[in-house]
Symmetry: C2
């Protein structure tokens, strides 16, 4: 049996209650105080529009969250969003519904208004929301179509209009447009793929074929190589090495770039995979002739006839370094000239906290304990990134998607042995502590992992949600990484999420570990003198201190209440912005995930 | 390999930090503001003594909590409490250490002071703490004993003194005193026992023997029966029925009570267990003669020769009704006269939130999913009851241990069929929603379940932690019930815990389900008019509204910030106590435990 709970997406009655009970002015009274777009601006002062509407939509979501939590995320329990009430202008707070099992939209004709011609249409916000949620293909339930409420169009008008919204939905359009990720990824949405182990396993021909379909990636590589050649300082023969040539797409791009740049250059193609080697040899004979030499072997050990000027590689994973590119390139640096360059020159890993009941349930299907600690490759669809841009309440939070770390090639700092290889891999370990602002109450199910790479100069590759379209639009080769959580972590509105993530390594493996703590930032109440004194001491907000400290130091009481029994007050922000102080109350934490690499990348 | 982490029980340096960072005055400055004894008094105003010391001890505990959480409660990780720093006068905040794997106490001689005679002794608070923690038998590590720091006694003096503390520890003394629960329960501390199923199974003779050892229970039963007989209104023969006679202890007590009361009375002994019947028949022949008649069968169906005046039963479980006493007595009411009485007359179930890393780990040993959803019978030792007495910050919280529900016998409200039996068991379902104040940051691992019974008049039985010594001191028959949680729930200082618990039933089973939500009560900041208006409206604190609502209505922003950009302030409590308003921010929740009775009592 399937069960679907009908919930009003937005309920003013709940809001009235909220206003009354919590002392927030009612919607009609001017300038209420909640801050829907979270960190933006001064949290103490209402910022109009979307404002008041934050509460009732949160109320609806919290109701749903309690129900499904009590039902243990049962997959037979779905959600019917009742779109009867008018929606807020600011839809940010409604994004969460995409990450829930929203199977039906309930649309009574009373929600429709008449357009100039008298035909039924939806109010702008409801229009936009419906278009957006079409991404997860809910069934639309129309009610009262025979009531003749609207002058024109009759019963059919409503369904026609809804179909029109569907057709004009950005994600639906994208899915029907060849060349887009949405179109390429049909059927892969929210599907968990175990990440590749290219170093341990030899990729199959079909895998290469899939990746070679990507027009954008190779275009950018060619452009990077072209610019590197064009700007090459010294005259004469330039030696290029493609480390990990696969079936040869990068070799071919090198040759085109050489032609375009009108340079004298020679290409070595290094490949360890015998399956791919066959194809390489064919292409050498049929296409490349003496412009290329194929070297069969592992780039970390193989002997190369001469030192090279430009080392071209494509060993990147969804998180940049996760397919062991740093370790492989360390091994290849042996045959790069001291002043030689690497394409890519560098790459960075990025993280964002997200909610997705779908993905949470997917990771729980398997009984294997590794299943909830494995970073999966996923084409995200039913997810919601929970972090907001801006500094949050304490002003100490980073952007919505945050950088964890960077790898640069060639790197000069590693200590090398006689063979030119590093003694240990410790220089490739990394740690990052990130602070996210969570504007709206939600549940954390995991993290999205993304990468960005600088190939050469301004040419790059990116799957960073906010920047990919600028840097490498419609690139198909990488879906994001999903770092799951064993247990959901509840996050109230305007809390702070402190995320720790490690890249760790031993003789054979590389893996990630992750852990998160939630804090509620609360204004520290002061009377005049105390604040004076503290300003002298120059002690400001807590957020800078490490969470363990912060948590332990901030008890609800000591952040809220002060010594003097006299009137307690904030320092008015607008008179003196520097005066604000915030304490952090720890309210929750996750387990440490994937300790000692239960799930790891193998092949060192 | 075993690993023990040494942590200062209390660290002033952390406190200084706290003071600086969170705006709380330094320990030296008078009247700081944290409220260690939580709800008591006005949370806005410091209350001296234990006060300042709350922070650093919480800091130590939070450090430990983060470490062991990251280590997933690994059983090989234990704790070494460093008693170097002087302890606070108020030890309440230190109770949590009993619930942690405190395997060692680190005691440097520098902690010792010299007594009048110059011998080394510990400061009063450290003395008391050490005595209390001896309950869980930690190993004491003395350091620097050869330093000759103290004039008298030499090296041996320190260990002699520690042994003296151990001998004089209340729990150690109790363990050595025959007749106490501590002595009776040797070896059973923190051991999880599956609760009895007396209705489904026939108890074995050895089980009866254990229970019959309890002097207190039968003494109180005899006293209750004696008073009932003495106060019996009508002259002439009184008919008593012992429903569930077992091996006859209650029958014997009836006869003694009859003698003492000098009444003419006859006793029916009803028993369904053939094993016990044998013993009953022997006792009838050898002791009781014609004063007693034995009836073999189930009290819910068996035919009794005549209606009885007094129905005596002892079918109680640790949670009162958990061994199906209500259902059995419903069946026995058939043969109780309309004006007859039941001993017990009523019983209540009580609950308290607790922390215990030991019990949490015990429930995780088994792979059976039922294991983390079964209420176990446990002799509590390494546990800490987290709730505080008093109303908490919002003033809406109940006492430390709270009553869930009550059962009364005889009950007149049940609808009966021709056989005098209820048509359904729905009248025996119960629901309670309890609100606890949590004064100190801690982790919730489950709940303690207790019962209290009124046998007759002022004679009762109780395992209620705060009242058992008054009502039935040294009663051995019942250990508390432990309701576990699948996952620990982190609770910050001064938060509120809302616990829902159900007693549910179907044709054959009775079971409990439980669920909890955590909230942080935050003062609602008002400017004058707004508060005026609200007082007119008469809307006060949120705590009264159901949590789902409460949670949804209280976003960090709307409870914290108000409309007017002008100076924001609390209404000063002492000038106008009624003026305080609190909003609740939901910060966490547990799963619903034991849905549909995965673990249940069988036999209806």
């Amino acid at each position: 049996m399937q069960l679907s709970v009908r919930i009003p997406i937005y309920d003013r009655s709940l809001m009235q209650l909220a206003a009354a009970a919590s002392g927030v002015a009612s919607p009609n009274s001017p300038g209420t105080s909640s801050s829907p777009n979270g960190g933006k601006g001064n949290p103490f002062i209402g910022s109009g529009a979307g404002e008041v509407s934050d509460q009732p939509s949160i109320a609806s979501w919290e109701m749903w969250d309690t129900i499904r939590t009590i039902c243990e995320y049962n997959v037979r329990l779905s959600l019917t969003l009742d779109l009867t009430p008018p929606l807020p202008a600011d839809l940010a707070v409604l994004r969460q519904w995409v990450a829930e099992p929203t199977r039906f939209l309930f649309l009574p004709v009373s929600t429709f208004i008449a357009n100039a011609k008298g035909y039924p249409v939806l109010p702008k916000p409801t229009q936009k929301f419906t278009r957006d949620i079409m991404k997860i293909q809910p069934n639309v339930i129309l009610s009262g179509t025979s009531s003749g409420r609207h002058a024109k169009g009759g019963e059919a008008a409503y369904s026609q209009y809804v179909r029109h919204l569907e057709k004009t939905s950005p994600s639906v359009k994208a899915a029907h447009t060849p060349g887009t990720v949405e179109n390429f990824a049909q059927g892969y949405q929210d599907y968990l793929q175990a990440p590749l182990q290219p170093l341990m396993d030899n990729l199959q021909s079909v895998t290469y074929q899939t990746f070679e379909q990507d027009p954008v990636k190779y275009r950018n590589y060619e452009e990077a190589i072209f610019r590197a050649l064009s700007e090459w300082p010294r005259p004469g023969r330039i030696v290029i090495c493609v480390a990990g040539a696969g079936r040869g797409p990068l070799v071919a791009r090198c040759l085109t770039a050489i032609e375009r740049a009108k340079k004298e250059a020679f290409v070595y193609a290094v490949e360890k995979n015998p399956n791919a080697l066959v194809t390489l040899q064919d292409r050498l004979r049929l296409e490349w002739g003496d412009k290329v030499k194929i070297l069969f072997g592992d780039m970390r050990t193989l002997e190369v006839p001469e030192q090279v000027d430009i080392l071209v590689s494509e060993l990147l994973g969804s998180f940049g370094d996760n397919e062991l590119s740093p370790e492989c390139l360390d091994g290849a640096m042996r045959f790069l000239k001291p002043d030689g360059i690497s394409i890519p020159a560098s790459y960075t890993a990025h993280l964002a906290p997200l909610s997705s009941s779908k993905l949470y349930n997917e990771t729980r299907v398997s009984k294997d304990e590794k299943a909830v600690e494995t970073p999966y490759v996923v084409m995200f669809q039913s997810i919601n990134i929970l972090s907001g841009d801006g500094g949050g309440v304490s002003g100490e939070c980073g952007p919505q998607v945050q950088e964890c770390w960077e790898f640069e090639h060639p790197r000069r700092d590693a200590v090398l042995n006689a063979q030119g290889l590093p003694f240990t891999n410790s220089h490739n370990t990394r740690f990052a502590k990130l602070t996210f602002h969570i504007p709206h109450a939600s549940v954390l199910h995991g993290f999205g992992g993304y990468f960005e790479a600088v190939l050469y100069g301004s040419v790059g590759l990116s799957i960073h949600p906010q920047r990919m379209d600028k840097i490498s639009k419609d690139m198909l080769s990488w879906f994001p990484l999903f770092f799951p959580l064993k247990e959901p972590l509840y996050l109230p509105s305007n809390c702070e999420l402190h995320v720790s993530i490690w890249r760790l390594t031993n003789e054979r493996h590389v893996w990630y570990e992750w852990h998160a703590e939630a804090f509620l930032p609360l204004p520290v109440l002061l009377d005049g003198e105390l604040s004076q004194e503290r300003r002298r001491k120059g002690t400001s907000s807590l957020s800078a201190t490490p969470s363990i400290a912060a948590s332990s130091l901030a008890d609800a009481d000591d952040t809220l209440f002060v010594s003097s029994p006299s009137r307690i007050m904030f320092e008015p922000l607008q008179e003196e912005p520097s005066g604000a102080r915030f304490g952090l109350i720890k309210i929750g934490q996750t387990a440490l995930h994937n300790p000692r690499g239960r799930s790891s990348w193998i092949g060192l």
